[in-house]
Symmetry: C2
Amino acid sequence: MRIVLDTLGGDNPPEEIITGGIEAAKELGVEVALAGPRELIEKALAAAGRSAERISIPITIIEAQEAITMEDSPTEAIRRKRSSSLIQGILAVKEGKADGFVSPGNTGAVMAAATLELGRLAGIDRPALAVLIPALDGRRFLLLDVGANADCSPLNLKQFAIMGQVYMREVFGIDHPKVGLLNIGTERGKGSELARKTYPLLEELEGFVGNVESNRILQGGVDVVVCDGFVGNVLLKGLEGSSHALLKLIKRTIQRSLPAKLGAFLLSPALQRVKEELDAAHYGGAPLLGVRGVVIVAHGHSDAEAIKNAIRVAKSAVENELPRRIEEGIARLAPKVTWFQTLRRKRERERKEKERGEGQGS
Amino acid sequence: MRIVLDTLGGDNPPEEIITGGIEAAKELGVEVALAGPRELIEKALAAAGRSAERISIPITIIEAQEAITMEDSPTEAIRRKRSSSLIQGILAVKEGKADGFVSPGNTGAVMAAATLELGRLAGIDRPALAVLIPALDGRRFLLLDVGANADCSPLNLKQFAIMGQVYMREVFGIDHPKVGLLNIGTERGKGSELARKTYPLLEELEGFVGNVESNRILQGGVDVVVCDGFVGNVLLKGLEGSSHALLKLIKRTIQRSLPAKLGAFLLSPALQRVKEELDAAHYGGAPLLGVRGVVIVAHGHSDAEAIKNAIRVAKSAVENELPRRIEEGIARLAPKVTWFQTLRRKRERERKEKERGEGQGS
């Protein structure tokens, strides 16, 4: 198995990303293809005590000088920066030279490139970005979409729900994943037009538990939470911002009294553990579900450890043949969709053939 | 000045709400009209050491036996439960018998009753529920809408922005309130269709600072953040859930070691202060902006102290003639809207008169 790692475009310097890739190759039993400038990678490898030529750990290089930055417009970048590490990495997956792709770079560009180059799975209209969030019951739930699609249809959300269930079952071994619809009230009939129209579609799915509110999901009890990408992104960044603000507020309050300072000193290992538990949400990165290939978006701030964990998630997704399972799940759980699409395509084909026949006749 | 307090329908027993009303009447220099069952209120007054007949503090009673509960459907409840404390309280404002209304009850029912009975201000298409959230810079920003309108138009959001600016200026004395559009990216052109279409409308306002992301708003630097009621409600409940989850997580982690337990003991006054600072977001309650009257929705969990603070906010809104200021603000800041509406109404009137004339002629 070979996983491509995009070494350029993250917030950390390429050396840090490369280190994560080398660690993954050493520990995880996968080959890591580092996409980036050859001289930089070889230097990093040499600094790590081995040259690219005589390494015992499975590392290869996909030569790419150009970087897609966080500031680049996704649609423009994927058209103009064809020689970038991001595009070259995605193309390696497309051409069957690699099994999965991991990038800490421009999320929009990864999504656009993956959708355009790899294509969507059968039965999926829009790929979705999914993030695992730790809940108080010690488990994690998958929130999607967190930013791939700012505007969604009810059918998009149903497909997200199915993809989320397949992911939690295949990658995390949860037998009957529970799905909730993110809403602003628990009763049926509450919420926006999108939420109200999505509810009956989700009722067709096994494991649908109804509407869930954003203050309750952190308590646990649900495995998959679906919403459109605008709401999901606002919620995800809100949770992130809130935890950081609270920890800062605690720190600041501590400065004000001596007993509190002593208390904080005694408490600091515990607080550190809490911080790690929260940051763990980013470890492993966010899978882009619904494209024809394994694509993992790591957090922009990813350090070597986070990159290694993202490669671990990619490995697990490849082992479990995630894209195929999602396609099967869609075909099984949303037969009406597939049937309808097939029917529509058939009718369109027949109509075109008829038109062509008439055109020849005249 | 007389403020009506709805004593039924909160999560706490009416006695707690009534106590808050009595405290407010004692301390704030306003008359408080308690809407609820007479015998219950008189009992509470007697328990507080005075009978309703011979009190020196300014308390009156608006007799109402019926309660609108949290489980009631707003539209049904306001039609069927006309004798409820909520409806009777709103009617007192409508009939000029009171200057403001405070309720810890069913938010949807308060909004529906206020909109229906009091009506909307000129130039406002949809009233919005606004909440003050503490930021790390020690100031607070106003988030709206947080749930009155699940689906909004760009024009709705522009009106929210103006109402928010007027509120922050008139009630909190901020001279040039800065407004941000809640979005999932900072660049112009980012986000949902609603966000993209709202941006140019907000550019017409003085103090518009562009898009703001949900992880940044807690850092401070902006006074008003606008979004539709679905996104606002999800974000507000998410922030609430996240802080509570984090404090619980810290508590749980503390249990695991003796030094941490000691540390927590020393730290507990500081943590308590943090918790109070966060809970303060709810103190004072959320103003329903855009209706013809002062209406404050207190949190369902409000205790006596929170109720008193909500009455304080109502008092300040009445003193500052908030509804009139909002109408003026809309007329000044969105002349096109007002002009257009006036024009449309004029044309409609002319058309009807013409039809009537033609009808008489035939």
